[in-house]
Amino acid sequence: MNPFSAGTRLRDMIRAIRACKTAAEERAVVRKECASIRAAISEDDPDYRHRNLAKLMFIHMLGYPTHFGQMECLKLIASPGFPEKRIGYLGLMLLLDERQEVLMLVTNSIKQDLNQTNQYIVGLALCALGNICSAEMARDLAPEVERLLQFRDPNVRKKAALCTIRIIKKVPDLAENFINPAAALLKEKHHGVLLTGVQLCTEICKVSTEALEHLRKKCIIGLVKVLRDLTNSPYAPEYDISGIADPFLHIRLLRLFHVLGQGDADASDTMSDILAQVATKTETNKNAGNAILYECVATILSVEDNSGLRVLAVNILGRFLSSRDNNIRYVALNMLMRAIALDSQAVQRHRATILECVKDPDASIRKRALELVYLLVNESNVKPLTKELVDYLEVSDPEFKGDLTAKICSIVEKFSPEKIWYIDQMVKVLSQAGNYVKDEVWHALIIVITNAPNLHGYTVRALYKAVQTAGGQETLVRVAVWCIGEYGEMLVGNSGMLDVEERINVTEADAVDVIETGIRCHSSDLTTRAMCLIALLKLSSRYPSCTKRINDIILQQKGSLVLELQQRAIEFNSIIERHEKIRSALVERMPVLDEATYSGRRAGSMPAAVSTSQGALPKMPNGVAKPASAALVDLLDLSSDADQAPSSSGGDYLQDLLGVDLSPASQGINQTEKRGADVLLDLLSIGAPPAQSSSSMLDMLSSGQDNKSALGMFDNLASPSAPSAQASSPVASSSMMDLLDGFGPSPSVPVAETNGPTYPSIVAFESSSLKITYKFSKEPENPQTTIIEAEFVNKSPDIYSNFVFQAAVPKFLQLHMDPASGNTLPASGNGSITQKLRVSNSQHGKKYLVMRMRISYKANDKDVLEEGQVNNFPRGL
């Protein structure tokens, strides 16, 4: 026989395909077959249609497209003979689904087949209908199916029942017609029909409340009898599975009881006996029995309250938990989560077993058990439970540690009875699994520590001890370093000892050792090292004898390739060497961080944490002064604060900084005490979109100090020698930018408005001889482009000629300058030159404007060159 002709037998084609060694070979064979099949289809050859469709189905199963065969299915279904119809319907179910239009064409054929007397053909049609009918077909053919529910042959009846399920799912309105026939099926003796009848009733009750009522009133007693007979029935070989007669029917009946009993006390009463009987009498050594018990428990837990049954159910679940079969335990844990909502007392009794499951080798069981334990925790059992969990943390798998740590931290945070226990547990967790602890968690820990002044000494000593043994856990090191920095003198002096503590001997050198290790360790990341540096600064004030050593350590970081560390090292070194007088004030004890506001902030709201700080404000080191920013530096130089508005408290310093007439455009300042706090708020969040501000806040906190970053901000201002750093700066500098931008807009601008369409003007540059002001506007359709009107004012008594203004911007900005209004600047502010600049920000929203300027002019026959940088552009440009 010619291979690959229409006459090829199915078996031969399959063999040929399987003999192919490569995918390409297989594709070639399939292509040839498809070609011959297509040829046969176009010839409309009836002989081999049957065989060809079978071949096509196989090809479809391999994954190749076979749409051209769809019409063949229809033709085969329309043929009179059973074999053709069979293949036709099979092809139909495989190659088509309800969403295809072609399916409608089959409706008539199916209708005819449903009306035949040959029960096998009727069966085929019902099968196809039940598997893939669409809503229209369902509506058309529902009457036929209804009639067939009473057909003489049980096979047809059961297929019709399942087909009805699909019909009422597709067209719920039709459900009413089927209520009575469905109820009638419940009286059947044939298991298959009974099974499908029960399933149909379950579905109908879900869809139609009328059906639910009807069945509740009329059928429950009958159903109870059926289940009882089934449970008590003798050995039935046909339906026996593992010694139980037809467990599937058991389960389906229980599911129907679930639906009928839920929310109805009478129905629940009627069925409580049989539920108790099933729950107690069913064998549990095989899966079939367990499946029945599982369904029974599910039903008990959802019908109306019957405490005796509930206890029974939870006990069954407890037994399941101790089973060796993983499937059973998994299923029990699942169901217990439901049970806990109803009766948590009962579940508490099984706490020990559940805890064992947390340690199971199977990952899905561990996960479920952990979730369950989390639900079980309450104030009375939190201590022993946490102890168990923390003990397990030591030996758990790395993949599981993350989950476990998160849950432990969450439990400890929610339920800790006293602070000291909380701190203890957290220290343990950090020692075991510090690297898995999330940032919010250890931030919260620090907040709690600051709020417990009587525990400061205890905490720092505990952390010191922990770090000796578990120095590899980065988060532990961070928290320890912060505490040692803050409470260093308590560590060495053993102050604030509690009764439970032993005396330890820690010298100043030991403490500094810890921090030095933190810096030197290869695996420490940027945050840890940065925190170490600031801790060292604090210690240099608290341990005066170690100052030289600390200074040396800091000096080593001066050459760090990381900008943040280099910057800090330089600044701190500068403080230690040149500003001893103010150093101790600088690094005073951190104020208590307000827990309530902190947790509010975690929810994304305003950062008020720093607003409560009062002595921690930076007194600026007047490090490197650059003439271009002289005005700003003046501002920052507190020795001349007499020039500013009178102030006494630290809060007012910042207030002054923001409120002073830095630019003529800024409004009058009427600071009150409250203002200080508001302005402080503004300082921290002004000009930034809310997400930015909270992240900059977080960074500020994670670098451990708000005074530090404020410090960094100001010093950076004084040494703008790395302009490119501004554009793509590490986070501390961007928080610096946030703070700086607070200078531009007036403090009366509420936070929410800083992104509004009008931008306040700024003083871009001011020296003793020249002042440049920028006014901003934006084109409405083009938010990326800003139009700047620059105004140059001559402050000196000389006239400037050949006045040229040049500007440069980083790569992500584009600058376009219009010609200036003139190039002679009259003296003493008697006139001004204006020039229009247009800046386009390709990273609008992500990066902010900066600009370097160079001004050259001739005064008194001398060429003068002034340079400066503009950092204080308002946000949103």
Binding site: R11, I14, R18, M57, M61, G63, P65, F82, P83, R86, I87, L90, M93, D97, E98, R99, Y120, L126, C127, G130, N131, I132, N155, K158, K159, L162, C163, I165, R166, H191, G192, L195, T196, Q199, E238, Y239, I241, D246, P247, F248, L249, I251, R252, R255, N287, A288, N290, A291, Y294, E295, A298, N326, N327, I328, Y330, V331, P361, D362, A363, S364
Partner: protein
């Protein structure tokens, strides 16, 4: 309700796939690929149930074939595990010690058996004897 039933060998070749919910061809392939990946790497000590999208897959391995059943989240897993076993027993009886090759060459018969066992995503008949008898009758019609 059963959403689909898939038989795959260890290499991921689908030997039988019956869907009781409508899916595009490409979606079907994706589903088969994902289910295979989920199921083939699981340790035999682990449970036979995996979460899959918003549903559950209940699977069991018989020799080189994975029988996977995707059901709704609220369904009774242990019961479906039993039904998989029943189906395998029926196949075993029908083909007399069934092996994968039997399923490949007689795929249309396997579909026929499946259609007698499950319809519209629900169990149709729980008696092995009844199904085998019915298959005999159907063969006679051919």
């Amino acid at each position: 309700m059963i959403r689909f039933i898939i038989l795959q060998n260890r290499q991921g070749k689908t030997r039988l796939a019956k869907y009781y919910v409508p899916l595009e061809e490409s979606e079907k392939h994706k589903v088969e690929y994902e289910v295979h990946r989920l199921v083939v790497n699981r340790d035999p000590k682990f449970t036979n149930f995996v979460e899959f999208r918003n549903h559950k897959v209940i699977y069991r391995r018989y020799a080189g074939l994975f029988f996977s059943l995707c059901v709704d989240i609220t369904d009774n897993e242990l019961a479906y595990l039993e039904s998989i076993h029943l189906f395998v027993e029926i196949l075993d009886h029908f083909f007399s010690n069934v092996c994968e090759l039997d399923l490949v060459f007689n795929f249309h018969k396997v579909y026929l058996i499946l259609d007698e066992f499950i319809l519209a995503g629900e169990l149709q008949e729980t008696s092995k004897k009844a199904i085998i008898e019915r298959m005999g009758e159907l063969e006679k019609q051919e």
